[in-house]
């Protein structure tokens, strides 16, 4: 069957009434949680994962797609109206969007973000559908050493290529790798680092870790900032609709943002924020109104928002075709797959095509639902932003622990939540990135498996890792991505990288 037929079949399955309902619940919950300040898509997905536990695999993944896209829409609403970007990928949106909201143009800012996200999501999801089969074909020739090289590349790009410091990025990664050792070794069945605690034999639960690191750590960090002046929620004055001039200025920015964002997401290059910064810089350069940038230029919202959504769809390319999560959100989604015993990758396309294509189709449907829901309901989302801080964060903690208790009601699991929450808090204080811990935790065992397979095939000969051309090229790129930023920072040129800091998503 051709891609097109698969996609149509997927659409038919996603359009079943029950599945539509799951998608609707997903986008609503996702937007609701994503709107809350300080909560990005990674946290949203981690918090809401337990809600999907009782559904079957298809229904749960469809709801998941809705949560993912909904969380991203919600994040942009927050950054426009509150100037508190819920995720690093929304920082640029806050830059121009909040200025627009202050100038009474909050409506058009939200509209261009929503429509831009829709356009980008649509194009990028279609691109995902058409590219995926080719990558799957490529992936079928991959052996253990190629996979290992690919994972090394992902480790480097997620941890050290961008951000403030190679040292702190690598340290975060190694903390994740060390934690990934806990539990039964998958190849020999011996237990490692479980210290006789039965709860640890299965390893450290990725969702517990993600909720602790993102939700609890972030809450503790915000608590530690003490009582500050409350952030001002900008009221939406005037029409939410865009004028003809707004449309004329937005549409090219949407398309450019999509073209910039999708490949960046699809490459193992880490989060969506890089695309948003590049798109912002491009729009600033090409704009006929450069003087408006910094004071609320609509292109500065339209482009980055489109880039943000396009890279989010892009990260699904390596996730679905190779089983390789390149962002914290994707890592948590991988955990979502694994709870049903599904391992994303080329095999999943062959063995369970309905599921994969149903998921891709639900992304399209979720995207459309969000466009229809978001603008009319924006008043409701704004109300969520006006919840007083104590109730808001107390509620977030209740929800964060609810997921863990629902998955595994044990005192030990809650203790881990607290301990890792405190670790994440300390990491935040010292400016350690969080995402590499999650990626290390989930990719660590997979990388180890592939490495040990490769080395047992070669009977312990390490040169085998470099004798495959694909693996050698990937490892070479990884080495460049590790060394180049070090050199740049040593020469005091690290500002560019700092701007692209990946702290979440």
């Amino acid at each position: 069957m051709s891609t097109f037929e698969f996609l149509l079949q997927g659409l038919a399955s996603a359009a079943e009434p029950m599945n539509l309902l799951y998608a609707l619940i997903g986008v609503t919950l996702g937007t609701m949680v994503g709107v809350l300040p300080g909560i990005g898509p990674a946290t949203t997905v981690a918090l809401l994962l337990p809600v999907t536990y009782q559904l079957d695999a298809t229904g749960s993944l469809i709801m998941f797609a809705g949560i993912y896209y909904g969380g991203m829409y919600g994040g942009s609403t927050t950054s426009i109206l509150l100037n508190t970007p819920g995720e690093s990928a929304s920082i640029v949106t806050a830059l121009e969007g909040n200025k627009m909201a202050r100038a009474g143009r909050g409506g058009p800012a939200l509209a261009t973000a929503a429509i831009g996200s829709f356009v980008a999501g649509l194009i990028a999801t279609l691109a995902l559908a058409f590219i995926a089969p080719y990558i799957v074909k490529l992936a079928l020739v991959f052996g253990p050493r190629e996979y290992f090289a690919l994972m090394v590349l992902a480790f480097v790009t997620v941890s050290s290529a961008f951000g403030n410091s190679t040292l702190r990025g690598l340290t975060s990664l190694f903390i994740g790798l060390a934690l990934s050792l806990v539990g039964i070794d998958q190849l020999t069945g011996q237990n490692r680092l479980s210290f006789g605690v039965p709860d640890l034999l299965d390893g450290i639960e990725v969702t517990t870790m993600a909720v602790a690191m993102f939700a609890i750590g972030e809450t503790l960090f915000i608590a530690a900032q003490g009582a500050q002046a409350p952030d001002k929620v900008e009221a939406i004055k005037g029409s939410v609709w865009m004028t003809a001039k707004d449309w004329a200025r937005s549409w090219k920015a949407w398309l450019r943002g999509t073209v910039i964002g999708f490949p960046i997401g699809a490459m193992p290059a880490g989060g969506a924020e890089i695309g948003t910064f590049l798109s912002y810089a491009t729009e600033k350069k090409l704009s006929k109104h450069p003087e408006e940038f910094g004071n609320g230029a609509i292109e500065g919202v339209a482009g980055p928002e489109a880039a943000n959504n396009a890279s989010a769809a892009g990260t699904l390319v390596p996730l679905l075709t190779l089983g390789l999560p390149t962002s914290a959100t994707a890592a948590i989604m991988l955990a979502g797959f694994q709870q049903y015993g599904l391992q994303p990758g080329p095999l999943l396309f062959a063995t369970n095509p309905q599921l994969v294509w149903g998921l891709i189709a639900s992304l399209l449907i979720a995207n459309l639902m969000l466009l229809v829901l978001n603008l009319p309901l924006v008043g409701l989302w704004v109300k969520l932003l006006t919840i007083p801080k104590p109730w808001l964060y107390a509620g977030i903690l209740v929800f964060a622990t609810l997921g863990t208790i629902g998955a595994n009601p044990s005192v030990f699991e809650l203790g881990m939540l607290l301990v890792f929450g405190l670790i994440a808090y300390v990491m935040r204080v010292f400016d350690y990135p969080i995402a590499p811990v999650i990626v290390g935790l989930i990719l660590g065992p997979l990388a180890e498996q592939q490495l040990r397979r490769a080395l047992s095939i070669s009977q312990g000969d390490f040169t085998v890792l470099f004798t495959s051309p694909i693996a050698a090229v990937l490892l070479f790129i990884a080495a460049v991505a590790l060394i180049l930023p070090l050199v740049l920072r040593m020469r005091g040129r690290g500002d560019v990288l700092t701007q692209m800091a990946a702290s979440e998503d």
């Binding site: 809600v51 536990y53 009782q54 403030n164 410091s165 040292l167 690598l170 340290t171 190694f174 903390i175 790798l177 060390a178 050792l181 070794d185 190849l187 020999t188 011996q190 490692r192 680092l193 210290f195 809450t219 503790l220 608590a223 530690a224 900032q225 003490g226 007083p388 801080k389 104590p390 109730w391 808001l392 964060y393 107390a394 509620g395 903690l397 209740v398 622990t401 609810l402 208790i405 629902g406 009601p409 005192v411 809650l414 203790g415 607290l418 929450g421 808090y425 935040r428 204080v429 010292f430 400016d431 490495l451 040990r452 080395l455 047992s456 009977q459 312990g460 701007q499 800091a501 702290s503």
Partner: protein, 163 residues
Amino acid sequence: MSSDTNKSSSERRPDWAALVIAAVLAIVAAVIFVDVSRLTSTTGYSPVGPASVPYWIGFGLIGLAIWTVFAAFRHDFPEREHQEVSPVLWVVGGLLAQMILIRFAGFSIATGLLFGLAARGFGARKLHISIPIGIVICLAIWWLFAGVLQLSLPAGPLENLLQ
């Protein structure tokens, strides 16, 4: 979180907090070494057994610990912002209370207490109001998730009244 990396060149003393981090990394590495050392003997047939990768990660951590020590002496760490201790303690207290009570008191009372104590950390001072509110909210959540969505949340005296 974008913090500037201003180096305070006048300071000659090392960054003690960074040294503590380096020590923690070294301790984690040591724990890995001690734990996997008992595995090595059981694998003779393959050059890379279950202990190999842990050893490499351990060496990586030692390397990062040494690098962190250098960073501590060169003041490479960004300046820390002032951190309020008491709100953090309230939130941690809430999480601890929930953890201890969840078995005996059920989801609503334990989590309601977490709600009240966390809200206290964020400035809602009236515990006699916020804890009951929290318990009522959690009871509603329990009813929704345990009753409607079939999620297993531990029941206590309050939940048993509802059943």
